[in-house]
């Protein structure tokens, strides 16, 4: 095995092995009666429930609904979050006037505003997408500002010495330098967005996987409920994989 392959394989094996060990330990604890099986189902039962929920609960469609909502929220986050971040970076007065408010919004429990969003957007996917967007956008704005403000002065000076216009300076110096931080913001924003998307689906009993989790919990189908939660994790994994790929594509040198 080459050195690079070893570097890739070992962390993966360690992570996966830890997950397997944790699952086995949980199975043993539940079977031994140390964890109540009517609260936490056996991992083997959850594994057994996958086929059933996929076949009977229309998981592919629900997965796509939640993924579509997450995708729209992510696109809005990228467009408006980065856009507002750039605007606040460029207009100092605006930044000083609003940055504290944006930071406050980041820690606000915006999920509680869902009745208002229901009034504005109706009982629809738009409400869910907008709830996700509102929850995630402060992190993207703040990290965009941080990334742009953290660009090394020497890089900007080099750009100016080449007589780059403001637009060229932004696209060739500021944005590439800020990209890693901006992507951290995007990932954070997507975490908040996905939590809110699934949470609102659960609360208003509408949409994809969140609604299914609610339905299964009401039916006291615990293995099914946990299996559905695994699909939410899968949505998260897919989005993180995609953002990682996009970041690599935008920063081929990194």
């Amino acid at each position: 095995m080459t050195g690079r392959a070893t570097r890739t394989f070992v962390p993966f094996a360690l992570g996966f092995g830890t997950l397997v060990l944790f699952t086995l330990a949980l199975e043993a604890l539940i079977r031994a009666g140390l964890v109540n099986r009517f609260i936490v189902p056996l991992p083997s039962q959850i594994a057994g429930a996958f086929g059933r929920v996929i076949a009977e609960e229309d998981i592919p469609h629900r997965f796509l609904v939640t993924a579509r909502e997450s995708l729209w929220a992510a696109l809005l986050l990228a467009l408006f979050g980065i856009g507002f971040g750039v605007l606040l970076y460029r207009v100092r007065l605006l930044r000083e006037a609003t940055e504290t408010w944006v930071a406050a919004l980041a820690s606000a429990p915006t999920v509680l505003m869902y009745p208002l969003f229901l009034v504005i957007f109706g009982r629809s996917e738009t409400t869910i997408i907008m709830m996700g967007f509102v929850a995630g956008v402060p992190a993207v704005i703040l990290k965009t500002i941080e990334g742009l403000a953290g660009t090394r002065r020497v890089l900007i000076d080099v750009g100016r010495s080449f007589k780059l216009s403001e637009v060229q300076l932004f696209w060739k110096i500021l944005l590439p330098a800020a990209l890693p931080t901006i992507f951290v913001g995007l990932r954070l924003g997507m975490i908040f967005a996905l939590i809110n998307i699934v949470g609102v689906e659960f609360l208003i009993n509408f949409g994809g996987l969140g609604q299914l989790i609610n339905d299964l919990a009401e039916r006291y189908d615990l293995p099914g409920t946990y299996a559905a939660i695994c699909f939410v994790i899968l949505v998260s994994v897919v989005f993180f994989f995609l953002t990682d790929r996009i970041e690599r594509w935008l920063r081929p040198v990194a």
Binding site: E56, V119, R123, E218, R219
Partner: protein, 316 residues
């Protein structure tokens, strides 16, 4: 040393059992403020549970699943207003839960439309949307019964709790909303909405126990006498709630935060005493196929399973 002695004495005094040491029971209750879930509160205010040497610790929840889970886990002894189908589902999966009484037979829920709407009766709902709370809920069953019994072409729509539903109705997202009194009575009085139908307009609902009282199996086995005594106090509390004692309406109005006239209307217009009387689980024959259709249970429960599941306590 003197300070230490005082501290120890204070600690011992605090740790000592109170002079009156009643049997304690813990309970979860769904939907705070509904008349049917106010039995323990009103009975306690009237001193009925104390008379039976009982002290009830209550925790209110927002739904059936949330009420049932602590009972299954054994962190509380009793659960109130658990959906009958949900209790059946938990039992069928081996959860340590038993039905010890009916909580609601029939339903007090009602359906309404905006006053400006042309919809005045169920017949007018053809081609319109009609709300229910969530999939698998009792309100969904009632809407299905409305449609099948009246051969309607109305389209059911899940709208969530009464508050979210009222918002949906007032913003024309759904034509007919649902509510459970006292919610919405203020809007009816203000002329903003009008009642289109009551749950009891569906024949099937009138004879169906839609919510039940459940107990943890272990608690039932070890404290059967206490739970039976509790159920006696529960029945006495219901008798008191329907007596002509004006204090009960005062207490309920204060509990819910509504005028006494509204509180009285909730009892007299929406909750006949039989609706909350706990002694019989009705409509099992219609509930069972529904439980299978809605995937609560894979197959109907056998008579033996039903007799194990349903153990009405303290019935005279």
């Amino acid at each position: 040393m003197k300070r230490l002695t005082i501290l120890v004495a204070a600690a011992l005094a605090l740790a000592a059992p109170p002079a009156w040491s009643a049997d304690q029971l813990k309970a979860t209750l769904g939907q705070r403020g509904n008349w049917d879930t106010a039995v323990i509160h009103l009975g306690t205010k009237a001193g009925i549970f104390k008379k039976h040497d009982l002290e009830i610790e209550t925790v209110y929840t927002s739904g059936s699943g949330e009420t049932l889970q602590p009972v299954i886990a054994g962190s509380v002894d009793l659960g109130f207003a658990v959906g009958t189908l949900g209790a059946m589902a938990a039992y069928a999966k081996g959860a340590p839960v038993r039905i010890i009484g009916a909580e609601a037979t029939g339903a007090a829920d009602y359906w309404y439309a905006k006053t400006s709407s042309p919809i005045k009766t169920l017949k007018d709902t053809d081609g319109h949307t009609i709300a229910f709370s969530t999939n698998g809920s009792s309100t969904q069953s009632i809407v299905r019964a409305f449609i099948s019994e009246n051969k309607l072409t109305a389209k059911p729509m899940s709208t969530g709790n009464p508050s979210a539903t009222l918002t949906a109705v007032m913003t024309d997202q759904v034509d007919v909303g649902w509510a459970s009194p006292p919610f919405g009575l203020k809007e009816i009085d203000a002329g903003q909405i009008r009642v289109v139908a009551k749950a009891t307009d569906a024949a099937i609902v009138r004879g169906q126990t839609i919510r039940v009282i459940v107990a943890n199996t272990d608690a039932l086995a070890k404290r059967r006498d206490v739970i039976a005594r509790f159920m006696q106090a529960y029945r006495e509390s219901i008798d008191y709630m329907y007596s002509d004692n004006p204090q009960v309406i005062k207490d309920y109005a204060e509990f819910v935060g509504v005028p006494e006239s509204v509180a009285k209307r909730v009892r007299d217009d929406f909750f006949p005493k039989a609706l909350i009387w706990p002694d019989e689980i009705k409509g099992i024959d219609t509930l069972m196929p529904e439980a299978v259709t809605l995937k609560f249970i894979p197959e109907p429960l056998t008579p033996a399973q039903l007799s194990e599941l349903i153990q009405i306590q303290g019935k005279k």
